[in-house]
Symmetry: C2
Amino acid sequence: MDDVARIAGVSVSTVSHVLNGTRNVNPTTRQRVDAAIVEIGYRRNVVARSLAAGRTNTVGLSISALTNPYFGSLVHAVEQRLSEAGYVLILGDSHDEPTSEKRLTGSLLDRQVDGMILAPAAGSESTTIPEIVRSGTPLVLIDRMLDLPCDQVGPENDASAYELTAHLLDAGHRRIAIVRGIEGISSTTERFDGYARALADRGVDLDPRLILDGRSNVEVAEMHVRELMSSSNRPSALVSMNNSMTIGSLKAVRTLGLSIPDDLAFVCYDDFEWSDLFEPRLTAAAQDVQTIGRTAADLLLNRIEGRDDKPRSIRVPTTFNHRNSCGCAATSAGIPAAPER
Amino acid sequence: MDDVARIAGVSVSTVSHVLNGTRNVNPTTRQRVDAAIVEIGYRRNVVARSLAAGRTNTVGLSISALTNPYFGSLVHAVEQRLSEAGYVLILGDSHDEPTSEKRLTGSLLDRQVDGMILAPAAGSESTTIPEIVRSGTPLVLIDRMLDLPCDQVGPENDASAYELTAHLLDAGHRRIAIVRGIEGISSTTERFDGYARALADRGVDLDPRLILDGRSNVEVAEMHVRELMSSSNRPSALVSMNNSMTIGSLKAVRTLGLSIPDDLAFVCYDDFEWSDLFEPRLTAAAQDVQTIGRTAADLLLNRIEGRDDKPRSIRVPTTFNHRNSCGCAATSAGIPAAPER
DNA sequence: GTGAAAGCGCTAACAT
DNA sequence: ATGTTAGCGCTTTCAC
């Protein structure tokens, strides 16, 4: 910057101000500075700038499982909003494990991120979140809600799970199994609650043998579903509570040579862009990932910019996509194939 | 750090050295420092550290389309390797557009990233790459190869596309259409070359009407395939050259009420974790995304650490997954369904 | 084994 | 409209 100033015959302060547009500069002067910048191919050093200004224009994002296409889309939505606002994204994967989550968020704090978006692992509230809060770094929780005075955005879980389950009940099913996700996070609990409530409302008792812990994992879900479906205890319907476990469940069913919906009615939480291409086509509750990601970024930017409202907790509604894996009357009666979205 | 030093009764210099393990410190002293750190809840400021040390321990990754699940996995593999090595990932999406790519990489350079991984958009070699090279920042290209003296990692394209096409030819097809990707990037060109070479080797002429420009996009591919398949010019087989276009193609075929492989034999470049669940199950060339990502990170780390070897260009082989969308004899003769992987 | 001090490249308050 | 300058919080050389 010194060099630019010398060549342009001005002070570094002026150079800084033309660079940042932070005060009026005589057009002629500005041109001289711009010319000097081009001449020596000067690039600003954002690290030095951050140190001096006390802001990094950087946001940290801690995601729990980057391999899940759901989180891929989430990252995309967040990144897009942030980059529009002039922020840059530092991305890390917590593997849904409190210790690596803590290491990650700690490193983000050390890097002086202006804010942080976190898909909290089970147990976060006692380990990593307090540390973040103590640092004063603006924080928004995403995907999993916690009982904390903190901005958070997540999908509607309970009502959607209720709807999925009720749909099966209305089609006459009484033995409805569930594959639920990772223990200890709100999405698992809430979706399970929706399932249980739907059963209760129809006077169907919870059967513990029909509750499978799929741990949000393809292989685990596959194993449990295979086991259940080859036992004498076969349910007539199954609801899977996230996309990974849906894949596992479908693999299990296929391996056993069973057919959906003839041998088993199936519905799931989480949709796929290519759900229409699966066989069977999946009846699913679709999250609005785009909105969730965008909203999280917006909340965070507000917080960073210091609008000090009270913490907001936002639920984004899901869409019920009725296709034919549920095997219900409405479908078999002839709803046409592959409604384009 | 001053505070820590004062409380521990040492100099900042000593504090710095215990923090970084950069020189021998008397165990007693070290303990006093550690205690002081805990006492005041000190966190190192990595921004200041970066400025002073001239390293940021940061790597930039510019991806062309985060929504594509392929790139999601790639990001995951890269992030994993980097975090093991103590680096942090700054992620951006170029939308496969040279101008936003240049803005992104510029911002990464300003932020003094220690290195950069780039999935170059078409036209990068004349705009953004020279700028990066000029800055002296270590660079590795990923997914798309360029004729440049620069580390790069990508999948085997030509041979795999050849194999896919040859497979259809061997099954007796002569009118084989192709949906190719974004113009101007090596993966598109090389995969097309493989296709063309296979046809040539069997004495089949290229038919321009069977060459569809899907632009690596679901909707574009869908439109072109629908058009072609409803014309009088229908091919007997189709090869799709990436995952997005595969989805588009399958949607088109389904919309027309046609069936694969009966009405159209189908093979594709890029596999899905859930390919077995599609109907039809896809015969596909699967990239080893994990290896590609890990290799890119390794090359970059080598470069950053200053091992100044000559640039390496690495091709990662694909796996041919034979399922039943190709409708070839081997399959119809009775290869069992859903081979688990 | 430890400390003093000179930067790293900027921003912004204060002057003019 | 522009310039001077004191930091921002560290690392690292040099000295002891």
